[in-house]
Symmetry: C2
Subunit: 207 residues, 2 copies
Amino acid sequence: MVKDSSVPEVVILRLPLYIRALTQMSEEGQAVVSSKSLGDRLQITPAQIRKDLSYFGRFGKQGRGYKIASLIEELTNILGLNRQWNSCIVGVGRLGKAIINYPGFVPEGFKIVSAFDNDESKIGQTVNEIQILPMNKIRSIVKENDIKIAILAVPATIAQSVISDLVDTNVKAILNYAPIAPKVPKTLILRNIDPVLSLQSMTYYLD
Amino acid sequence: MVKDSSVPEVVILRLPLYIRALTQMSEEGQAVVSSKSLGDRLQITPAQIRKDLSYFGRFGKQGRGYKIASLIEELTNILGLNRQWNSCIVGVGRLGKAIINYPGFVPEGFKIVSAFDNDESKIGQTVNEIQILPMNKIRSIVKENDIKIAILAVPATIAQSVISDLVDTNVKAILNYAPIAPKVPKTLILRNIDPVLSLQSMTYYLD
DNA sequence: AGCTGTGAAACAATTCACAGCA
DNA sequence: TGCTGTGAATTGTTTCACAGCT
């Protein structure tokens, strides 16, 4: 299936959700699924699932549904999850360390191959077998190791300036944990992880 | 300002962003701001900012803009951020501990007053002055301490079952860090923090 | 002149509803 | 009969454009 920039981003954001649910179902021994039962599990309408999938191909069979194993494979290919993505972490404070030690990333194919920090006292230390390097090494290391994704875990105060540095490297995507709305060129992919915003919007609906 | 359920949720999600940018501008010594300059900082169109604010009132002055201090106050009131919200953390593994120690929550008015875990060996321990209690205490503690928000940091495998327990307490909102799409009654507010989904959708746009 | 607040227009996403295949 | 795939209808969101206040 061709990568088509006309696919709405909301659709792309749902695909990983589909893969996750399908994988579960597969582990539970199911071989086939309908858009209705997948939708039940994810609280998404069947029509939406069918329309989302239809952007990429015709993976189902009328009257039967989708073969789970092959749908997982299709979606995995579409998202480019059939290979390993090298990433680096920038900022190795408490948050950065927690991310490095979080076991959820590695099995998903996002290997953290390198870590950077500007704190003299941290440089040379090792966290989970990853050596902490100074920021001025980042350009060369990113290039040498084909690192496409940077995970940003520095304090908010310096986040924008670090992002500007990152833009000058070969990094193509940033997963940003700093509580700011960073300015990046729109060729760079950005996702923000910002629990404080989530909390602050929840309270509107309380009481 | 009246809490009107006809305000689109996307609008509510942007309000904390506005507060954050306005607070920064205020700290930088600015007293007044136009929708244009606020929009520049957040990469949001001025029209959208004006329309968002218009759901709640007329806070600006034509020809002049918005008084930053009073707009912050209005938005803070609208979101209910002018008071402290008690929360508890459920699951005190590596992730849960990292959250408890994350300094970003407390100043924002989300006090973690209590922590729960079912691991015998953890019960009674203290993390950042918070005592770890067994799960069977959660109903009473939530009630006694007027806890409205639960922060869920348990493994994916047990997350849905823990959520079912939470639904039986007085908790009104869940900030979920487990990588699942939980089923909750729609009266309960839910926000998911799911970095793996973010990573998996970014790769679509890489190479 | 400069900027807000807001209907109306444009655009985007979701859901409907049904033809058609297994 | 049971389900997909998909145009058409609906619903939701963003942007335009301008009257009107300061």
